[in-house]
Amino acid sequence: ELKVEQNPLFLSMQEGKNYTIYCNYSTTSDRLYWYRQDPGKSLESLFVLLSNGAVKQEGRLMASLDTKARLSTLHITAAVHDLSATYFCAVVLDFLYMNYGGSQGNLIFGKGTKLSVKP
């Protein structure tokens, strides 16, 4: 069974500070996703990491993937209030569709990290 663990689950930061959210998973997967969710809203895709050593950056957020360690990190640089949200990592569990002879990835989510950035 694939398990995905995020930590911390709650993070209160001051504006301007840096911090890292960690995502560990239990079995081999070559794809990892990071999503942002604002209260009452759907999931917004932030990053898709497709290979070992992948690093992607967008604004104050940078994500990396180490498939050998089964670890992804989401690094926040110089946090601002607008980054307050819940962040989920999700790992792909491939599902084989027998009738089609192909597979598709189902997402297994971590519990999420609720980030609060305070002035």
Partner: protein, 110 residues
């Protein structure tokens, strides 16, 4: 342009009264998913389709059913909603490495 559309955005139903949530997509993706997300929890996969090849997760309650009459539309039927079924229901489509989520339907059970 909206790519994954869910209707209604908010649904209130009574305990035990059947309810249907709908999802449509303009992406022509073969794969569609339904997720349930309860308050302060992660999304949990209920069902997924590759075209009409249907698969439900082992722990999806029998009270939940799904239909996919064509590529564009997918429905989630809850036959007898209980208070514990109150949640946000997210529809998603997928092709290759990307999953595209709809805006969700928030279900309230009174």
């Amino acid at each position: 342009d909206a790519m994954v559309i869910q209707n209604p955005r908010y649904q209130v139903t009574q305990f035990g009264k059947p309810v249907t949530l709908s999802c449509s997509q303009t992406l022509n993706h073969n794969v569609m998913y339904w997720y349930q997300q309860k308050s302060s929890q992660a999304p949990k996969l209920l069902f997924h389709y590759y075209d009409k090849d249907f698969n439900n997760e082992a722990d999806t309650p029998d009270n939940f059913q799904s239909r996919r009459p064509n590529t564009s539309f997918c429905f989630l039927d809850i036959r007898s909603p209980g208070l514990g079924d109150a949640a946000m229901y997210l529809c998603a489509t997928s092709r290759a490495h990307e999953q595209y989520f709809g805006p969700g339907t928030r279900l309230t059970v009174t």
